[in-house]
């Protein structure tokens, strides 16, 4: 796995050397900060609620989660395939999975940096005299990072499928939105209660999985596992797509 670590370091450096990452970070932070201030005002100074609003409790959060990972992962395979660097990576003595893992961790790290900005808000509030509840803050950041990892793995699988970054970003956004809206299929089909599909869809509800655990400040292994397993699944898909590319 030292290969994955090497790739991770390179990818992270690559991300922070590209203006895109900085622009995204800047916009997302401005966006977050703006809505946080609004929410603090809107909730009448309820710090706890504002914090949960910031991490998982609002549409703005889920919008960022759907939009940002595809923008970070879009170039990771599609562009490298165009410039030929992929040929270099795939002939280096590392496994395909290590390549995917390294890239996934790099994109996730960047988003983790973004989410951990919530600590700054916490510190700001503490400085102003109302210290937040730190436990839900920590679990919220962890959860947001796990969700980001899931959507980054989807983005990577799609980036490996597409030949242009733009197309990859577009399809990955759609895929992410589709994953988030899986529970609505239940309402759409009007499934009878207790039907296996309905139960399955209930389990695939990313938002409730997230909110049941991380927003309330508990790190439930069941929910952690949910995100880890699905991230693993999409990373596996990305690895297979990468392998299939060799046949194109």
């Amino acid at each position: 796995m030292s290969g994955a670590w090497t790739i991770y370091r390179r990818e992270l450096a690559g991300l922070f050397l590209s203006p895109l990452a900085w622009v995204l970070l800047c916009i997302a932070l401005a966006f977050n900060g703006f809505f946080f201030v609004l929410s603090v005002k809107g909730f009448g100074g309820d710090v706890l609620q504002s914090m949960s609003f910031l991490l998982g409790g609002s549409y703005t959060f889920w919008m960022l989660v759907v939009l940002l990972p595809p923008l970070l992962t879009m170039r990771m395979f599609s562009e490298e395939a165009r410039t030929g660097v992929l040929e270099f990576l795939l002939t280096a003595p590392v496994s395909d999975f290590a390549v995917v893992l390294g890239k996934l961790l790099a994109a996730t790290t960047l988003l983790a940096v973004l989410w951990s900005s919530a600590f700054l808000y916490g510190l700001a509030l503490a400085a102003l005299g109302t210290p937040p509840d730190w436990a839900p803050l920590v679990s919220g950041v962890c959860g947001a990072t796990l969700v980001s990892a899931l959507f980054c793995s989807v983005g990577l699988a799609i980036s490996a499928l597409c030949n242009t970054p733009l197309l990859a970003a577009f399809f990955a956004t759609i895929a992410n939105a589709a994953i988030l809206s899986l529970p609505f299929v239940d309402a759409l089909l009007a499934l009878p209660p207790g039907s296996p599909l309905r139960v399955a869809l209930g389990h695939a509800n990313v938002i409730t999985q997230f909110q049941a655990s991380f927003v309330v400040g508990a790190l439930d292994t069941k929910h952690v596992l949910f995100f880890v397993v699905w991230t693993g699944f999409f990373s596996f898909v990305a690895t297979r797509v990468l392998e299939a590319r060799r046949w194109w």
């Binding site: 030292s2 290969g3 090497t6 790739i7 370091r9 390179r10 450096a13 690559g14 050397l17 590209s18 410039t83 030929g84 660097v85 992929l86 040929e87 270099f88 795939l90 002939t91 280096a92 003595p93 590392v94 496994s95 060799r246 046949w247 194109w248």
Partner: protein, 397 residues
């Protein structure tokens, strides 16, 4: 070191390579030659583990490229044609990355990186951003990256493409050096390069191996044989001279090349260089020799013939083909293409001295200006033009 058996790769309905088999010994330097689309890059990509083969097998250093891909990748330095490098990184960062990928320790990386940069001749730009480097410099960085893990096998896909002539010479020097320590498989469609670098050549055409062997072997086997050209003043009895020449051991045949001024031309298709013998005969017979040369088809002609898909020829037909067809009545397509090959080879001369449209009038004394080009002639009764070949035979006619 590299063993390829019956390698086939298809891209959908398109067959890139079919049934390739060859073997490289340790320390061999082999040139892959072929026109564009012949399957050079595909073969190299399969060897590097980037592409899987549709059928057949390939082994590098005793490891199967598909089953023990990682083992193979640890042992090869592969430079793809596109020279993939991270444009946003510095040269030394790229090398550091490659070193880490190959599991080199920090001290090994510290020791090796300056060394490979020096070998590739790019040590003065080690802090430069790769995106800001010129094509030739990037090519060097690519070589340095491939060399860093000190691989047993180097697979270089067109390492000299896009370089200027000076860089190309330097690259050639580097490749010769590398050939002493590594097993090298390199591809190119630049013939002089392969001729200068690779003792052994594999010529690919349309996905098949058209030829495989040392340059001499190839030229001998496929080139249609060599010949001796004698231009001498043999007196009126040409037939006797021909008989004498034919009697020399090793001479298969003597062909009368006709008169050139006061001299007579003979072609002697023969396998070895018989200039000594012919010279001795001429000395004994007091023939005044103007030219005695040993001509062999070059790798270039051979390659052109394979690339143009012309049939291989017998020695007799070959020597006939060597002469430019001034009458312009090429009988078949292959004949026309043969003339084309010839034209390419002697293009500068042909361009300087246009061939006469028809045979010159018999009363004129013609003098051959170029021993390789019978079409070029000038009227001896007129003075030689000072400014080169401006006065063409057409003006006289």
């Amino acid at each position: 070191m590299i063993t390829v058996r019956d390698l086939t790769r298809r891209f959908g309905p398109h067959t890139a390579i079919e049934g390739l088999s060859f073997h490289l010994e340790r320390g061999e330097v082999v040139g892959f030659l072929g026109p564009n689309g012949a399957g050079k890059s595909t073969t190299m990509r399969i060897l590097s583990g980037y592409l899987p083969a549709t059928s057949g097998s390939a082994e590098v250093a005793g490891f199967d490229v598909l089953r023990s891909s990682l083992e193979v990748r640890r042992r090869i330095g592969y430079l793809p044609e596109s020279v993939p490098l991270y444009a946003e990184h510095r040269v030394e960062e790229m090398l550091d990355f490659q070193g880490r990928l190959h599991g080199l320790s920090r001290s090994e990386r510290r020791a090796r990186i300056p060394r490979v940069l020096e070998r590739a001749g790019i040590n003065d730009r080690s802090r430069a951003i790769i995106g800001a480097l010129s094509r030739g410099q990037r090519q060097r960085v690519g070589i340095a990256v491939a060399l860093l893990p000190d691989p047993e096998v180097l697979i270089l896909d067109e390492p000299t493409s896009g370089l200027d002539p000076i860089q190309r010479l330097e690259m050639r020097k580097l490749l010769v050096e590398l050939g002493r320590e590594h097993t090298v498989l390199l591809s190119s469609h630049i013939l002089p390069e392969i001729e200068a670098l690779c003792p052994r050549v594999i010529i690919l055409a349309k996905g098949h191996i058209a030829a495989d062997g040392t340059q001499d072997e190839l030229v001998r086997k496929l080139g249609g044989g060599a010949r001796l050209r004698l231009e001498a003043l043999v007196g009126p009895d040409v037939a006797t001279a021909m008989r004498l020449l034919k009697a020399l051991p090793g001479v298969v045949d003597v062909r009368d090349g006709g008169r050139l001024g006061i001299h007579h031309v003979f072609y002697l298709p023969c396998a070895q260089d018989l200039r000594e013998d012919v010279g001795a005969l001429a000395h004994a017979k007091r023939w005044a020799i103007r030219e005695l040369s040993w001509q062999r088809p070059s790798l270039e002609q051979l390659f052109a013939r394979i690339a143009l898909d012309l049939p291989y020829e017998t020695p007799g037909a070959e020597s006939e083909r060597q002469e430019p067809q001034a009458d312009g009545s090429a009988s078949s397509a292959s004949r026309a293409a043969g003339a084309l090959v010839q034209l390419e080879v002697s293009a500068p001369l042909a361009a300087l001295e246009p061939a006469p449209a028809a045979a010159p009038a018999q009363s004129k004394i013609v003098y051959n200006l170029n021993p390789f080009d019978m079409g070029a002639s000038r009227d001896l009764s007129k003075p030689k033009p000072i400014d080169g070949p401006a006065a063409s035979p057409k003006e006289d006619a």
